[in-house]
C-alpha cells in the first residue's frame, strides 16, 4: 500500500514537472519569437515541411471521412425521411470537429513525431550544445519556426480537409445515393454558419501549438542515446494525440 502511494506520488510529481517544463519552453518560445531579427527563411522551411508535405495525407483523410460520414448519416436520416440533411451533417461535423481534429492527429503522426526525432537526435549527438557554443539559441533556431509554422499551417490544412470532406460527402450523397443535389447544397448553405468554420480553424491553430510544442519539448529533453530518442518520439505522438482530444473537448465547450 505504502509502495503504491509512493509510486503514485512519484508519477504525479513527474507529470507536474513535465507540464512545468513545457510551460517554461512555451514562455521561452514566445520570448524568442518576438526577438528580432525574425527568421522568415526558417519559418517558411518549416511551413513547407509541416504543411505541403502533409497535404496528401490530409486530403485522403478528409475525403474518406466525408464519404463515410455521408454513408452513415444517410442510413440514420432516411429513417426519418430527412436524407436531404446529409450534406449539413457532413459539413457541420467536418468544419466543427472532424476537420481540425483529424488533420491535427495526422500531422502529429507525420510532423510532430519528426520534430521529436530530429531535435532528439540533435540533443543526443551534441548538436544542440554545438548551437549554444556557436552563440545560436536553439529555442530560437529550432523551436520557434516549428511552433509558429504549425500554428499557421494547421488552419490551412484544415480548410483543405473540410473542403475535400464535403466534396466526398457530396459524391457519396448525390452521385452514389442519389439525394437531390439542390436540396443537399441548399440545406448546407442554410445551416452552416461562418462561425462554425472560424471556430474550427481556431481549434486547428491551438492543436498546431499543442502538437509542435510537445514534439519539440520531448525531443529537446531527450536523453540516453538512440533508445531515448525512440522513446521521446513515441511519447510525443501519444501525448499530443491525447492532449488534442482533451483540448478539443474544452474548446468545444467554450466556443459553441
Amino acid at each position: 500500500m505504502w509502495q503504491l502511494l509512493n509510486r503514485l506520488g512519484e508519477g504525479v510529481v513527474r507529470e507536474l514537472k513535465e507540464m512545468g517544463g513545457m510551460f517554461l519552453l512555451l514562455v521561452d518560445t514566445v520570448r524568442w519569437a518576438f526577438y528580432p531579427p525574425f527568421r522568415l527563411d526558417l519559418l517558411f522551411q518549416q511551413m513547407e515541411k509541416i504543411g505541403v508535405k502533409s497535404a496528401l495525407v490530409v486530403i485522403l483523410t478528409g475525403a474518406f471521412t466525408g464519404m463515410v460520414m455521408a454513408l452513415q448519416t444517410y442510413y440514420a436520416l432516411t429513417k426519418f425521411g430527412a436524407e436531404t440533411m446529409v450534406g449539413v451533417t457532413v459539413a457541420l461535423s467536418m468544419t466543427r470537429e472532424l476537420g481540425p481534429v483529424l488533420t491535427s492527429i495526422m500531422v502529429t503522426g507525420r510532423a510532430g513525431s519528426a520534430m521529436a526525432a530530429e531535435i532528439g537526435t540533435m540533443r543526443v549527438t551534441e548538436q544542440i550544445d554545438a548551437l549554444y557554443a556557436m552563440a545560436v539559441n536553439p529555442v530560437r533556431y529550432l523551436i520557434v519556426p516549428r511552433v509558429l509554422g504549425s500554428i499557421l499551417v494547421l488552419p490551412i490544412l484544415t480548410v483543405i480537409a473540410n473542403f475535400v470532406g464535403i466534396l466526398g460527402g457530396y459524391f457519396i450523397g448525390v452521385i452514389v445515393l442519389r439525394i437531390d443535389p439542390g436540396a443537399f447544397v441548399a440545406n448546407m448553405e442554410k445551416h452552416v454558419e461562418l462561425g462554425d468554420i472560424y471556430n474550427g480553424l481556431i481549434k486547428a491553430a491551438v492543436f498546431g501549438l499543442i502538437l509542435s510544442l510537445i514534439g519539440c519539448y520531448k525531443g529537446f529533453y531527450a536523453t540516453k542515446g538512440a533508445v531515448g530518442v525512440g522513446k521521446a518520439t513515441t511519447q510525443s505522438v501519444v501525448l499530443a494525440a491525447i492532449s488534442i482530444l482533451m483540448a478539443d473537448y474544452l474548446l468545444t465547450a467554450v466556443m459553441f
Binding site: T125, E126, A133, A135, N137
Partner: protein, 247 residues
C-alpha cells in the same frame, strides 16, 4: 586568460566537480587530463557557459561569465570555437553549410565571401573540396576535422576540444594531434583540450592539468608533469605506460 575559481557541480546525488581551480594561459595549449568519467567534459562545458556551476566563477579576461544573461553570454561565445567529441556536425546540412553556419549567423558577408572562408578553413584542416558531401558520408576522423574547420570559422581567440582523438585509430589520432599542434602554432590562439590519452597530452600540451576526484591534482609543463611525485599522477602515468607495453 581563463580563470576557473572554486567550481562546484553536482548532478542529482553525484558530485562531479568539488572545487576546481585552474588558470589557463593565453596563446598556448592547455590539456586537461583525467580518467574517463572524472568530469572533464563537464569542466570544459563550464568554460563556454553550456553548464552553470552550483558555486564558483569562470572568468574570461576579467569578466565572470556565470551570471551573464543569454544575449551577453552569446557575445562572449562568439570569441570561442568548440570541437565536440564526435564533431557534432549538423546532419541535415552539407559539410560546406556546416562550416558556413557560424559565419552566416553572425556576419553580414556575401555568399561568395562566405564560400571563400569555407574553402580556406577546409583547406586548413586538409580537406579541400568536400563542401558538397553530407556528414554521414564522412569517416570519424574527417568529421572531427570538419568540426575543427567549423570551430575556426569565426577566427576565435579560444578553441575548446572535447576528446578530439577518442575512438579514432592510432594513425588518424596522430593526424588530429598534429593538426591541433600546427593550427595552434599558426594561429597563436588559446587551446583547451580535454583527453584521457596521456600520449596525446604530452604531444600537444604546453601545460597539462590533471583532474581527479573533482579537483585539479597537478598542473605543470609536460616535463614537470612527468617528474611529478603526486601519487595520483604517478599511478596514471604508470598505468598508461603499462597499457602501451601490452599494446
Amino acid at each position: 586568460m581563463i580563470e576557473i575559481h572554486d567550481i562546484y557541480k553536482s548532478f542529482g546525488p553525484q558530485d562531479v566537480l568539488k572545487g576546481v581551480n585552474l588558470e589557463i594561459g593565453e596563446g598556448q595549449t592547455t590539456v586537461i587530463l583525467g580518467r574517463s568519467g572524472t568530469g572533464k567534459s563537464v569542466l570544459l562545458k563550464h568554460i563556454i557557459g553550456l553548464i552553470k556551476p552550483d558555486k564558483g566563477q569562470v572568468i574570461i579576461d576579467g569578466t565572470d561569465i556565470t551570471p551573464l544573461s543569454d544575449p551577453k553570454l552569446n557575445e562572449m561565445r562568439k570569441r570561442f570555437g568548440m570541437l565536440f567529441q564526435d564533431g557534432a556536425l549538423f546532419d541535415s546540412m552539407t559539410v560546406g553549410e556546416n562550416v558556413a553556419f557560424p559565419v552566416q549567423e553572425h556576419t553580414k558577408l556575401a555568399d561568395k565571401e562566405i564560400a571563400a572562408i569555407v574553402a580556406e578553413k577546409l583547406d586548413q584542416v586538409g580537406l579541400s573540396g568536400i563542401e558538397e558531401k553530407m556528414p554521414s558520408e564522412l569517416s570519424g576522423g574527417m568529421k572531427r576535422r570538419v568540426g575543427l574547420a567549423r570551430a575556426l570559422a569565426l577566427n576565435p581567440e579560444i578553441v575548446l576540444f572535447d576528446e578530439p582523438t577518442s575512438g579514432l585509430d592510432p594513425i588518424m589520432a596522430r593526424t588530429i594531434e598534429d593538426l591541433i599542434v600546427d593550427t595552434q602554432r599558426q594561429l597563436g590562439d588559446t587551446f583547451v583540450v580535454i583527453t584521457h590519452n596521456m600520449d596525446a597530452a604530452f604531444r600537444i600540451a604546453h601545460t597539462i592539468a590533471m583532474l581527479d576526484g573533482g579537483v585539479i591534482v597537478e598542473k605543470g609543463s609536460p616535463e614537470e608533469f612527468e617528474a611529478s611525485s603526486n601519487p595520483v599522477v604517478r599511478a596514471f602515468l604508470e598505468r598508461e605506460e603499462g597499457k602501451e607495453m601490452t599494446e
